[in-house]
């Protein structure tokens, strides 16, 4: 039986759903599962780790781990992987995971695959499926090493119903601080904002919204729907949206139930970040905009006219 270690995805002191999704998938392929949680003051999360479907919980809880630092984070994962004798180490899609996975792979002399959408174990062989070339193709990749470290693409796996775990907590010793890469400061993203990666609805703005007035108009709609508020590259370059709001091959990759592209033409790099969404709605005044080729629903029209109507109609049905 394969042994799979899932790295808990913790943000703002809470366990994200992706942890359960990864543990569910690991359980569904018949693996023995463990989870490793890394942070500061995370004792309250332990019951959540068990309920997410893990058989063993490795916990690295130390004030020095309060702010992410890739070196110590990777050391904790490698430590847990060795203790658990993991065959596979699974990270959720996150900047922390993307930074730590290659380090862990080198430390364990394991193979490494990022952005995977599926794992198959057949006999001696492990194979993963992953998109490449800006999502334009898929690759089936055979792993030729005894161990494998992967980063799972957002939304690839679903949480199972009625899963249970067993409480078996193993405390990890705190790792050495990285004295050669010292985190001096963390400038937090504005608090109270809905995380793009977690949001059930994501609304993004593109060049078509033109300026701050347009951004604010769409932001109101996002606020109404408690949606994540994202952006195309153009609005980030224009200084209207923060870097961390960029959806695309180079920015965040999202897979919400509903993605609304407002005034976004649909450049290939943007599509690579959102075409895993369940339903896509596009609003654009250019009927030939490539975004309409991927949109389930397209409204050809002036967004400055359409967005207020959208708000009003949605308010009406939600009243």
């Amino acid at each position: 039986m394969a042994k799979i270690l899932v790295v808990a995805d913790i943000k703002n002191d809470a366990l994200k759903d992706s942890t359960t999704e990864l543990l569910s998938k690991a359980g569904s392929i018949g693996a023995e599962t463990a989870v490793v949680a890394i942070g500061s003051n995370i004792e309250a999360l332990i019951s959540g780790l068990v309920n997410a479907g893990s058989d063993t919980q490795y916990v690295a809880d130390d004030p020095a781990l309060a702010i992410f630092s890739a070196g110590p984070y990777a050391s904790c994962v490698a430590d847990a992987a060795k203790q658990f004798e993991a065959d596979q180490i699974w990270f959720s899609f996150s900047e922390s995971g993307k930074a730590a996975a290659p380090r862990v792979a080198v430390q364990l002399e394991a193979a490494c695959a990022t952005e995977i959408t599926d794992v198959a174990i057949s006999g001696e062989h492990v194979e993963v499926t992953r998109p490449a070339i800006a999502n334009k193709v898929m690759q089936r990749v055979r792993i030729n090493a005894g161990q494998m470290v992967v980063v799972v693409r957002a939304g690839a796996f679903e949480a199972a119903e009625g899963i249970t775990g067993t409480e078996n907590v193993v405390t990890l010793s705190p790792p050495a601080v990285d004295v050669k890469a010292v985190v001096k400061e963390l400038i937090s993203d504005a608090s109270g904002e809905i995380d793009l990666a977690d949001a059930d609805i994501v609304i993004s703005v593109g060049r078509g919204v033109k300026d701050q007035t347009g951004v604010d108009l769409v932001k109101e709609l996002a606020h109404d729907l408690k949606a994540g508020f994202g952006s195309s590259r153009a609005m980030v370059d224009g200084g209207f949206m923060a870097h961390n709001k960029q959806v695309g091959q180079t920015g965040k990759i999202v897979a919400p139930s509903l993605y609304m592209a407002i005034g976004i033409s649909g450049a290939i790099q943007h599509l690579a970040g959102m075409n895993g969404s369940k339903v896509i709605l596009a609003v654009n005044k250019d009927p030939e905009a490539p975004i309409f080729n991927v949109a389930d629903y397209g409204i050809v029209g002036d967004l400055f006219e359409v967005v207020p109507i959208l708000r009003a109609e949605i308010k009406k049905i939600r009243a």
Partner: protein, 261 residues
Amino acid sequence: MKILTTVKKVVDVELTIRVQAGAIVEDGLQYVINAWDENAVEAAVQLKENNNAETTLVSIGGGDNTDMIRKCYAMGIEKGIHVEDPALEKADSPVFARVLKKVFEKGDYDLVITGKQAQDTDSGQTGIMLAEYLGLPCVSNVIDIQVLDDQHIKVSRLGDAGTEIIELELPAVVTVTDSINEPRLPQMRGIMMAKKKPIDVMDLSALGISIDDADGAAAPTSEIVEFMASKTREAGQKFEGDAAQITAQVVSLLVDEANVL
């Protein structure tokens, strides 16, 4: 400060990519410099201009990389190394990282700048693995680099919880995103000068890597079995006409048909 920048030749993602019988159809493909590596080159050239850094690029594989390397010369890179070897045909990220390690060790560099990932694989592993093999500090997803002194730089990284400000002791490795800068267009004078500059082409044995080495430096740990066409989304329903009417219609479809509102 001596900077090593990595550049990879990748398939142009703007063009249509076709898959047939488990492989990508070569016909009609074009190859360009990996976009994020162009940001890495620009970052290196800015450090040359502002902090008197020396700039070298290295490219691994890709066949004839002359045009790409000359473009980087024209942007301001001073030296170029191209590692080419038949054994690299199936190289994965760990192999690239181990080859880069050998290049790094021959050059006494202070800083390696790579793009955050290559557009063909979208893996994002090589730069981080290079640092790990060398035992050097590394920060990925960097959007700003400031030189503090001969031994230290300060970088900004886009992390999960916000922007992390990190001080790095040199030598170090950073991987950059396209938010860090806008790569310059080469000027005519630079293009003319670039044509005269030599490219240092070498194979693995010149770097001291044997393909049947016991340490397995050139042995990949993963192999692509097949390529498959991506599940493409089909264009759905497109509505034109009276804004109030079609918007109301789409909202009711989102509620009743798609069940997402």
